[in-house]
Assembly symmetry: C2
Homo-oligomer: 324 residues x 2
Amino acid sequence: MTKNIAIGIDIGGTNTPYGIIDEDGIILAKGHLLTNSNLSVESFIEDLANHIKHKLESLPFDVSLCGIGVGAPNGDYFNGTIENAPNLPWKGRIQLADLFKEQFRDQPIFITNDANAAAVGEMIYGYARNMKDFIVVTLGTGVGSGIVSSGELVYGHKSFAGEIGHTIIEPNGRLCGCGRRGCLETYASATGFVKTAKELIENWDVRSLLKQIDPHDLKATDISQAAELGDELALKVFDITADKLGFSLANTAAITNPEAFIIQGGLARSGELLLKPLRKYMEGYLLNILQGQVKVIASALEENNTAILGAAAMVWQEGKKISI
Amino acid sequence: MTKNIAIGIDIGGTNTPYGIIDEDGIILAKGHLLTNSNLSVESFIEDLANHIKHKLESLPFDVSLCGIGVGAPNGDYFNGTIENAPNLPWKGRIQLADLFKEQFRDQPIFITNDANAAAVGEMIYGYARNMKDFIVVTLGTGVGSGIVSSGELVYGHKSFAGEIGHTIIEPNGRLCGCGRRGCLETYASATGFVKTAKELIENWDVRSLLKQIDPHDLKATDISQAAELGDELALKVFDITADKLGFSLANTAAITNPEAFIIQGGLARSGELLLKPLRKYMEGYLLNILQGQVKVIASALEENNTAILGAAAMVWQEGKKISI
């Protein structure tokens, strides 16, 4: 029997993992290539394609390739391009879908950004399998989101929807990489989370395990570990982060009325340490008719694989549309 | 020749206007019925249906009725119901679509809330005819919005999407009818607009035409008229309102990336008095990749008819879907 498979690729700033994935979300094989900044994008995609073809040939059973999904920073679904992605070595507008088509003839290619791929991953393989309206929030180096309404991704006019990380929640707040002040990202990203800890370490006269760590070396995982041990300061960092994020989720819920927020990324691994205060604050800020109606859950997809699963899931998602 | 027509009905707290409308948005006939709080909802819908049937029979040409669209506060598209609408005399959950079906046998009936009907109206008859992603913002007694993504209304999980008026823009700000503080509605509704004027009249030592009006009698139209004459205080009211609304539109644009915000309602009639500072503030708050990309325009639909046009437009919108 021939197995239907999709390829999921996650082009990142330093590393590009890929996976060969079936319709049930089983990763049959995976690999990765360093995102080599010395290569032209054409040569890089050629190298990547050769890696993947080799991997496909080495599978011990027959497969039928149904398509290729690619998640990339600033990935534009409508045009199949990436454009001025801040963390990638290639500048300007790149016809990414065309480059893949040269390598994989006759295959459908789907390009989107990381957060949208994450949302499709949850819809096909994760908690959102039976949901029509939900939002995936990715808490990583940045804060992104993928919004699904009536079972369809919300791309927006220029494919820029979902920039929840760049909604301003604190006028005159922390300076953001985007040049403005008070974006959610400056509080709820891994960097913002660590910054909150540093501010407390400096200004709060309380004993804390975190005060024994050189501030330059302090990482989000240190804070999570300390919080698990009941460290008061570390717990306060979670509380402040949950307050900021909860405010933002409540406002976002008023706009798109999702059934659930599914949290992905490093901070989601902290589980109830984050989710418990997050639910409390969100409920406190929610409009009355929405109270008790909006779930907040951590993704059940394996952290390291969410990006390639999401990218591959686009192939099945689009296939469903075509068969309707 | 038989003319295809739809009926658009706008059930309001005091008055229920309706119109017989063709596919081009021409209102062939219209009328209204007082929303009689002494009648049961069943009797009221029966009266309304009799009015409309009489109006249909009096038309001087043959028509083919294609469906009935009803906009109502808290109208639920999925269930065809209204539930606990604050301004309507009938409480509890009302099976509105069923009541209309009893009166108009075999006709498709579409129920939705006012802001969603407004969005469909703009899509079928207004500025959004060639847009796939836009948001109608209604500035009236309250502040609502209807969101369209990829040509489809965003209803959300429980049909509550679009509550932009109840996003919190000023923590610890003005008390809102919803019980929380700082909702956009407390600043950008007609009531909020007048409140801003009253605060300035009381606290700002500047000459103003508005100081000659008894504060209890001050209306939004007084402020618009004074602003048109160059009254400094009245212009400041527009400036403050535009600042608050511009902040909210910028955050909303980051979430759904609309091509345009189309402004409806009393304040939209003030035209550039509101729109000019609104665009300026919104641009100032917008994320860099969205700057210069989001239009802010006043609805071109005739103010008094937007609600019945929007309700009727649902019939054509749904018809398009079915014919695909």
